[in-house]
Symmetry: C2
Subunit: 419 residues, 2 copies
């Protein structure tokens, strides 16, 4: 066992000095739980309960149909988009919160493919992505290509190193998840976007594990389209609607087949023939689920109390600490670090393999340390600087060590589903 460079007291002292520590009070976290699964479902902002009551009791119950105007329900997708925009380096009029990540990805891919189908790039018929991408991203790309005219296909690349070469003269669109859901590996968005553009491709970024987790500068990177999730690091509530970013320069030619009335220039004119709204509104489709949508605002508000730079600084401290403690305190056990050590390549999660990863994770959860498990053998631990303390990290590792030392896990445990 290597020598420990920290102690629990030192962790508590870091918490005392942590400028983000007071933000933990903005969240309702259960007693006795160390929640390291905010990369799957973010914790509940305290404000969300009152907001839910307002929306359900007053806006829906009392003001009824009038609330579309008086409570601002109509503007909610755009208002939330404008509030989310600074977190990902987007303009306020470039983001809407709507539908699921999968559906928004479909819109973005369709639009990118359509743009490439015009002009000299029309012969490009391949969407390039990684085999290790989150499955639904690949499924949606396959769904799109298999319904387009003959000749479109999805090309899966086996490793990040092979990506640059795969972006060849057949490649219309590169679809990448910025931070990998399983490994926590972070791509260099600016460099990959530049490389894709130099090779004639457009890039669609999935920010599911980036938004609110790491600094993102979509406009700085000159990215083409992006989508992301609000119920992970943004703490918008279970299954809360996702977001989509379309930069101003692409908005006029942003076209997709999911052309519902909310994306129409004049939805209430009940006009015949679809005429897309000017600007980001054309990324909308049908009526949004207002109660879930309203919760997103409570998550976003908390971010306005700090900066993504401050969040990133603490995130790296938390993940560095976790890696150091696991590797020192649990050195006797067959744990393998999957997440990059290099800061620039790391998201806000740490993944370790263990031959009995599923059973060990179940034992951790039973002891109040909530992470999750992903095939094969991967235990995921998400670190959310808004509500995770340094002492949490220490305590989580002590519990992990105890479970491993005593082999206090059931290798025959039946596997349930987790998202």
């Amino acid at each position: 066992m290597s020598e420990l460079t920290t102690t629990r007291a030192a962790c508590l002292a870091r918490d005392d000095q942590d400028p983000l520590a007071p933000l933990r009070q903005r969240f309702d976290l259960p007693a006795g739980v160390i929640y390291l699964d905010g990369n799957s479902l973010g914790a509940r902002p305290r404000a969300a309960l009152q907001r839910a009551q307002e929306v359900v009791a007053r806006e829906w119950g009392q003001d009824l149909i009038k609330s579309w105007n008086t409570a601002g329900w109509f503007d909610l997708p755009k208002r939330l988009g404008a509030r989310l925009a600074p977190l990902v380096g987007a303009g306020a009029d470039e983001v809407v919160v709507t539908d699921s990540t999968s559906l928004n990805l479909f819109k973005a891919l369709a639009a990118a493919v359509r743009i490439q189908a015009q002009g000299e790039t029309a012969n490009r018929r391949v969407i390039v992505t990684e085999r290790s991408n989150f499955p639904t991203d690949i499924y949606m790309a396959e769904g799109l290509t298999s319904w387009l005219e003959r000749g479109y296909s999805v090309r899966l690349v086996d490793s990040s190193e092979e990506l640059p070469a795969a972006i060849d003269a057949d490649c219309a669109v590169v679809m990448l998840t910025h931070v990998n859901y399983r490994t926590g590996h972070q791509h260099d968005m600016a460099a990959l976007t530049r490389h894709a553009h130099q090779n004639g491709a457009l890039v669609v970024w999935d920010l599911a594990h980036s938004a609110g987790a790491v600094p993102v500068d979509l406009n700085g990177a000159e990215a083409d389209f992006a989508v992301g999730c609000t119920y992970k690091y943004l703490n918008g509530g279970p299954g809360a609607p996702a977001f989509i970013w379309v930069p101003r320069r692409h908005q006029a030619r942003f076209a997709h087949p999911l052309s519902g009335w909310w994306g129409h220039a004049q939805p209430f004119a009940m006009a015949h023939g679809f005429a897309p709204a000017d600007g980001i509104g054309r990324a909308l489709c049908g009526t949004p689920p207002v109660v879930s949508l309203a919760m997103v605002e409570c998550g976003l508000e908390v971010f306005e109390e700090t900066t993504m730079d401050a969040i990133r600084a603490k995130s790296l401290q938390l993940t560095d600490l976790f890696i150091e403690l696991v590797e020192s305190r649990c050195a006797a056990h067959p744990l393998g670090l999957v997440t990059p050590r290099e800061h620039a390549r790391r998201g806000s999660q740490v993944s370790f393999t263990h031959p009995h990863g599923y059973a060990v994770m179940q034992a951790l959860i039973a002891r109040g340390v909530i992470g999750d498990y992903r095939e094969p053998e991967i235990m995921r631990f998400g670190f959310t600087p808004l509500y995770t303390s340094f002492a949490d990290v220490w305590d989580a590792v002590e519990i992990l060590k105890d479970i491993l030392d005593r082999e206090d896990y059931d290798v025959g445990a039946e596997r349930g589903a987790v998202t």
Copy 2:
């Protein structure tokens, strides 16, 4: 003015005898309001507030990620579908609640077109619908056809009478809204479905203004696919997720391009390559908005206290009474009945034109009678037997009469958006 056959006292007496009257207590309605807009946004079931608090405070806040299993979030789309199914003559394993009506329509149309593209019907490339259909339905059909291989198109029929002839040898799919959103006209589902099948077409029904409003027997009619809304007559909350019905006989070949992980046979295997779930699960796409979704259950539970036949009987009594009272009490004014008098052709709403329909509706709303307005000149009044009384109908007409008699409306009123 024709002779009145009823009085307010008689209306109150009917309320006393009404077996559905006690169900009004299941809803939270604001004092001083006669709510005749349940065809746009249904009233709030009292249970919805407590349910929202449970989902937000306990399921999300306290149980966090575990709630996907322990609170049954995973099963919610199917569980709600099974509960909704009897209201539309569907099997319990044939319906899911998910996404918006627009998106579900896209899936159903895509699947129907794909089925027709196989075999002897492959030359059929036209989707037939009515020009008077709800615009988003037409927009979604246009969105689909314009992205399919060359040759697909949408054919708009100008009147219901022209429909049968339009279902010709080029017609792949007939897309109809069962009850028209503007006129309240109800199609004969069984007869039109039979006619379409005899002519080689499949039929997709939009039940937005039917589910919970009129008896529907999808399996009895041998319909092919259906979608519908939960936030109107089903009282599921603002923008609550919609439903989609795929009968068992079509499930194995139900394919659409929105192939997200929730529609995968094993969503958590994180497998490569999309393999659709057996059964209705393949109509799902991305993660659903749980808080909004949970509200739908509160709306559906109220329907289990009665039957669609009882609801229909009262609905016809309410709409008959409204027509009779408006035509007798307001006979001096230029009101034109748009909704069919024939019961079999009528939904659960009544629409009247008035040259100043928008202004009159604004005056009604200011006086607490909440209906809505649709271009051109149409005042819509929805009658929801679960919470509308006969005395409400009487009082609403008295207020309408007073506004019209005194010309107490502002013809210059600016037009806001309503949904």
